[in-house]
């Protein structure tokens, strides 16, 4: 058994003039779980893509299981014994588990024979690693956690000795994540090597043996997990001290701003997405909506923001009641006092090919102050853009730069600047820190709390439970379109919320 699973030496990778990896060296010991942490754009994904053959390094050498290897494609990587579980699963939705696993590795011309041969091998793998999954069910009928298990099985079936997992817990409930970690533990016990890419420091501390930290394309530190802590890792990632917990005063809820009454919603294909939703949001409080992504949170935000049409039930904002008969769109909801930071800033919140100043007026382009009689008042727009960018520390400070050229964190600050500066009664925020680096997260959280402290109402949707717990004053948990329960933040703990997220309420427990 080789002692070293992976040896990367002086890997360099440039995209044009941008350096994605600079003299990166990494050694991973066999039979360990090795974490790689870093902010977005730190070069983790590039490094793993080089290892898995998606990119070719400009220079440097790769050793796998103590053998010098050239990896030109994913095929080479698999041959060398590397398996990868991508953040977005690479499965054919309408195929069965078995078909997905066998796909591309068929041992015989006859599909039936291949399937039979693999069945036996799969049974062995399942037993060995406790990866039970019904191999005859189709992928789209399986919960996300099981789909991920199929991905792991697939990699093992292809003979992987080294398994790379890219942000594996992003789509899982805390319980599912725990289960995944038990599987990883099992794999380690059987001598497999696991490389875990994540930005969640808690996971690093819980499961890994070693951890490597990347910052701006460089490997800045290697640590034994038992000899480090979250604060040190965060500091290494960002390059300065960061506060992981946001300081905030107790909430002081005032009058009712938003009340949602008996909301039901079916999507275009007739699937029920929201069922009997009732809740209120008061001024001076942050109400957090927790839940695994895809359980109706997005639809809820979109309906309140006026993007999706309200079907059954009603919404009351201040004194305006909105029912299915009201003809509202996002513009009229804005006039009623709603600001909306959408969940997906690149697809919805920004027009990435427009300049920063064109984006800063998105949704407010009809405002009198931005318009002359016929043409828009470009002076006023640039001035207001510059002011907002300064306020929210958007870098680079250039209103004429295309939005796509800003980093994720700065794009998000731009959207937040636009919506928060409106100073509306109600702020809807979806995934405020998705794809945003730690330094900016701290800033964004402080802005949202400042909004609350200015006696505004905030409705926060996030799949990051940590974020919900640290920002919210009150927490609603959604599962399959229903509100499973409501918890005051001061009484909340991760386990209870995790159970609610998985659809297990206290009554049925």
């Amino acid at each position: 058994m080789p002692i070293l699973a992976i040896q990367l030496t002086n890997i360099n990778k440039y995209f044009g003039n941008v350096c994605a990896n600079k003299n990166v060296s990494l050694t991973v010991k066999s039979g360990t779980i090795h974490g790689i942490v870093g902010e977005n754009g730190a070069g983790k994904s590039t490094l793993m893509s080089i290892l898995y053959g998606f990119y070719k390094a400009d220079s440097g050498s790769i050793g796998v299981l103590e053998k010098q290897t050239t990896i030109r494609s994913a095929h080479d990587a698999i041959q060398a014994g590397i398996g990868m579980v991508h953040q977005h699963f690479m499965l054919v939705d309408t195929f069965t588990v078995l078909e997905n696993i066998v796909l591309g590795t068929d041992s015989s011309f006859s599909l039936r024979e291949s399937l039979h041969a693999s069945k036996l091998e799969l049974k062995r793998l399942e037993k060995e690693y406790h990866l039970e999954v019904n191999i005859n069910s189709t992928i789209n009928k399986l919960p996300v956690g099981l789909q991920q298990r199929v991905e792991i099985l697939k990699a093992l079936y292809r003979g992987a000795e080294i398994l790379i997992l890219d942000e594996p817990t992003g789509v899982l409930t805390p319980q599912e994540a725990d289960h995944l970690f038990r599987i990883l533990d099992e794999l380690r016990g059987q001598g497999k090597t696991v490389i875990l890419i994540t930005h969640k420091l808690r996971e690093i501390m819980d499961i890994t043996d070693y951890v490597s930290v990347m910052r701006q394309g460089e490997m800045v530190a290697h640590r034994k997990t038992s000899e480090t802590n979250r604060e040190e890792l965060a500091e290494l990632m960002v390059g300065r001290k960061v506060l992981l917990r946001v300081e905030k005063k107790p909430a002081n809820p005032g009058r009712k701003i938003l009340s949602v009454d008996n909301l039901n919603y079916k999507d275009d294909s007739g699937i029920s997405r929201l069922k009997d939703i009732n809740f209120d949001v008061h001024s001076g409080e942050i109400v957090g909506v927790a839940g695994v992504s895809g359980n109706g949170q997005s639809e809820l935000l979109d309906i309140i923001a006026g993007i999706n049409h309200l079907q059954i039930g009603s919404i009351r904002i201040n004194d305006h009641k909105i029912t299915s008969e009201s003809r509202v769109d996002a513009a009229s909801m804005r006039r009623l006092g709603i600001a909306h930071v959408p969940e997906d800033r690149q697809r919805i919140g920004l027009v990435t090919s427009f300049t920063a100043s064109e984006n800063i007026i998105l949704g407010y382009h009809r405002d009198l102050k931005y318009n002359g009689l016929i043409e828009m008042n470009n002076d006023a727009i640039s001035k207001s853009c510059l002011k907002q960018m300064e306020h929210f520390d958007v870098r680079p400070l250039n209103p004429l730069l295309k939005a796509s050229l800003f980093s994720g964190g700065n794009q998000q600050k731009m959207v937040l600047a636009r919506e928060i500066e409106r100073n509306t009664d109600l702020l809807l925020v979806g995934q405020p820190t998705r794809g945003v680096d730690i330094g900016a997260i701290e800033f964004i959280h402080r802005q949202i709390i400042a909004m609350r402290d200015a006696n505004k109402a905030v409705l926060l949707v996030s799949v990051e439970l940590d974020e919900i717990l640290s920002l919210s004053d009150r927490i609603l948990v959604m599962f399959e379109g229903q509100i499973m329960g409501q918890v005051l933040a001061k009484d909340a703990n991760e386990r209870d919320i995790g159970l609610l997220m998985a659809g297990i309420s206290k009554e049925t427990d």
């Binding site: 003039n17 993007i307 769109d329 009229s332 804005r334 920004l350 027009v351 998105l362 949704g363 382009h365």
Partner: protein, 365 residues
Amino acid sequence: MSERQVNDLVVTLVTVTNLLMAFLISGIVIWALGEDPWFALKTMLYGAFGYDEGLGYTLYYTTNFIFTALGFAIGFHCGLFNIGAEGQAYIGGLAVGLLCLWLENWSILIVFPLAIIVSIIFGGIWGAIPGYLKARHGSHEVVTTIMFNFIASVIMVYLLSHVLRPPQEMSPESRDFAENVWIPQMHEIFSWFGFEITKTPLNGTFFFALFCLFLVWRFVWFTRWGYELRTVGTNEFAAVYAGINVSKNIIIAMVVCGGLSGFVGINEIMGSSHRIMLNFQAGIGFTGIAVSLIGRNHPMGILLAALLFGILYQGGAELSFEIQTIDRHMVVLIQGLVILFAGALENLFRPQIEIFIKQVFMRNL
């Protein structure tokens, strides 16, 4: 050099390279036919620019292409691929013609603004129907606008052969309008200032086309309506998020497209033929698509590309007249090559040019 300047330079060089490639291959074909490509080029340029009559024709064609290219560009900025400029120009021209027949005793100072309005209305309606079908029912505008080209064509054949043709005439044309609704032609305008130039179909509409270029530029990039249009065209989700009515913008864009294309009728009917003719718009609408794409859907680019196609049309005619072995199909070949390289294979040389420019200008970065 800033990022933006580098980008502009790359775009310019890419376009120029593509055009050079098209001309190079045309040259090879001419050489293979046993003619001198260099002489052919000189003949073509002389035909297009060398004397006032040639220049007049060149600019006259340019005027038409400006209108239909703008009619395509507006739609493009709204995410639409308007193939219907041909039909919109046809119907717009019909409206202009009918107006002139009706009000032929009125002053041109009144009829001209009215002609603009009716070509906007009729061309606009011809664009609005596919726009409505797209916005409401999701029918693809490429399919519907092509169908509307055919519908326009059939309507015109019927009207010209059964309704508008004077009884004693054989050809499917209306009668001539009275002279006082003719748009002054360029030689007349020049003669007001004491200059003598050869008579060509080039007329005052050319200045109106330039004005339209300016208006479209300001409309698309400087007004909130243009802003909404571009938002719908680039990111429909963001448009809905911003409270922009997507359907309304699609319909408005198609109306503006149709209106602009309809102005071809003013140049052709009111400015040149002075009667409604069959197929007066032939090919102008389709060429407009190529002009707009080569001009990157920007008014400045469209002006240059329209001029290029004006040169190809007029210079090409001169070429087939001068050199007997080169017939008019050769000219179509050259135009086709230009469209192939500058339109379809637009990014063929882009990577190499980008690398070259970056090596030359951004070495220090």
